[in-house]
């Protein structure tokens, strides 16, 4: 049984998992906040809502940590984020969907983390960077068109690299359901990307 202990209001929260390993809850947040934020942003298509979702998810995680059985922390955290996002999507259904906004740019010169246009190739030309940015927007737009469950399955398995079993734990459904959703999500994504073939890399364009 996991346990949270804290000696003072400003001390790091410490958690003890089932195996007796002690770690700080802040370390859990630091380790998983990037994954949590990206999952929430692609599920909600809105960076501000995604920040709220991640904040709310970590508060929920803190309160529910005594129910964590110490199995797979990443799957557990992503499950909380998924549930928070689904609740937000459900409550937002009556309102029109907000399109995926680009991150706001700052005027300061301080170094930022990898942004939306920072793909791994640092030697990319401006044309390549523009193409990659368009490709990324196209993929995220196609992800946004997928059904909510399929989008979550594809994000967990293909973007966040979870196994089917971990995704099943995160989504709270059976393994067969995960397989089906991943397969249909990939199929839907491929069909969508076919329609935007000009934005795709040359290899994919030739195959299409």
């Amino acid at each position: 049984m996991a346990q949270i202990t804290h000696t003072s209001p400003h001390a790091n929260l410490r958690v003890t998992d089932q195996s007796g390993q002690v770690s700080c809850f802040d370390c859990v947040i630091e380790t998983h906040q990037t994954q949590a934020y990206n999952l929430a942003r692609r599920m909600l298509s809105d960076w501000a809502l995604a920040e709220d979702a991640v904040q709310e998810s970590f508060v929920s995680a803190y309160r529910a940590f005594n129910r964590f059985r110490g199995e797979n922390l990443t799957a557990w955290v992503l499950r909380i984020v998924s549930n928070t996002c689904r609740d937000m999507l459900r409550s937002r259904k009556s309102r029109p969907t907000i399109s995926l906004d680009p991150l706001p740019t700052t005027d300061s010169d301080e170094p930022q983390g990898p942004s939306a246009v920072d793909l791994p190739s640092t030697e990319a030309s401006p044309e390549d960077r523009a193409e990659q940015s368009e490709l990324k927007s196209a993929i995220e737009g196609c992800l946004d068109d997928l059904q909510e469950d399929r989008r979550l399955a594809v994000l967990l398995v293909d973007v966040h690299g979870l196994s089917y079993e971990e995704a099943s734990e995160s989504m709270g459904c059976s393994l067969g359901t995960v397989k089906s959703r991943v397969s249909r999500g990939r199929g839907g994504l491929r069909d969508c990307l076919r329609q935007t073939g000009e934005l795709l890399p040359s290899r994919f364009r030739q195959e299409v």
Binding site: N38, V54, I139, G187, L200, E207
Partner: protein, 313 residues
């Protein structure tokens, strides 16, 4: 080539997706590879899926604009204290729903297997049994009407015409409205037996309720009077036809006490009918109430389960 096409089966998208993730082993894997070797479309679909997955995996992870590290434990959420009914444990809801569902099943099964029909059958028997009485009384009235003058009572044809459809209505009572059937039978008998008084039988045959009956019975008994009378009377045979001819001279004076006794007996039958039909209505209301209770408890259990699931995460 034709044989190849007829036996060829395209690889399903789920199987291709699993193959792409390397989750196929043994014979399924061999089968897919054999099919891929023979099927160009399958290979193309696999390549497209592989490219789509590669693009998804290449999506960059963006750093959040701020850290979510908590310097202090978050405050406990202020939760509204649920009322007493909602604070009950789940097994209370489950047990109550089970009991209600069981009671609902029992009431439905009793209704469906004819537990109520026995009451209805006895009621119908009572109603149909009164029809021959009406016919018999009409016949006796016609036989004794030979001594009367032709201009004695102009309303006699009306009462006899009403008596015949009333008997037919008593037969229809097997199918539906028992109160209407009972009232019609009452009207038939009253119309036939009360031949001494010209106005009372006509009023009875027209569906006028006996003392103490409500206006609903009057309305229920009224339609048989409007029903086509000659056809029904003719269908009953020659006796009724001759009764129509000889009924103009009905002058037999029946004792008033006997008439009142008959009326009281029929009022008793009507009360029995109403009580039985009332019990049936109460039974149906009980079924609906028990069913609604079962649904209510099940819904409560479901909402509590959902709330618990949300809290557990």
């Amino acid at each position: 080539m034709w044989i190849f096409r007829s036996t060829h089966k395209h690889i399903g998208q789920d199987t291709l997706s699993e193959y792409l993730d390397g989750r196929l082993r043994g014979r399924p894997l061999e089968r897919v590879e054999l099919q891929l070797a023979d099927c160009d479309a399958c290979r193309q679909e696999l390549d497209e899926l592989r490219a789509a997955v590669a693009m998804l995996q290449a999506l960059p992870m963006e750093e959040p604009r701020r850290s979510f590290v908590m310097s202090a434990p978050p405050p406990e959420p202020a939760r509204a204290r649920p009322n007493v009914a909602l604070r009950a444990p789940n097994w209370v809801y489950a047990g109550a729903a089970s009991v209600a569902a069981l009671a609902f099943a029992v009431t439905i099964s009793i209704d469906a297997t004819g537990g109520l029909d026995s009451d209805l059958d006895s009621q119908d028997t009572t109603v149909t049994a009164s029809a021959p009485i009406a016919e018999t009384t009409v016949q006796s009235a016609s036989r004794s009407g030979d001594t009367s003058g032709p201009s004695e009572d102009a309303a006699a044809p009306q009462q006899l015409a009403a008596a015949a459809p009333a008997a037919a209505t008593a037969e229809q009572a097997d199918q539906g409205d028992t109160a209407a059937g009972g009232a019609a039978a009452f009207g038939a008998e009253a119309g036939a037996t009360g031949s001494g008084d010209a106005t009372a039988p006509v009023a009875a045959a027209a569906g006028a309720p006996p003392p103490g009956e409500g206006p609903a019975l009057t309305q229920a008994a009224a339609p048989p009077v409007v029903a086509p009378q000659p056809e029904t009377a003719g269908a009953d045979g020659d006796e009724v036809t001759t009764t129509n001819q000889s009924a103009k001279s009905l002058t037999v004076e029946e004792p008033v006490i006997e008439e009142q006794t008959d009326e009281l007996a029929h009022i008793g039958d009507l009360i029995d009918d109403v009580v039985i039909s009332g019990a049936s209505a109460w039974w149906r209301a009980l079924e609906v109430a028990v069913g609604a209770l079962a649904i209510l408890f099940l819904a409560g259990l479901f909402f509590r389960w959902r709330a618990g699931r949300r809290d557990s995460v």
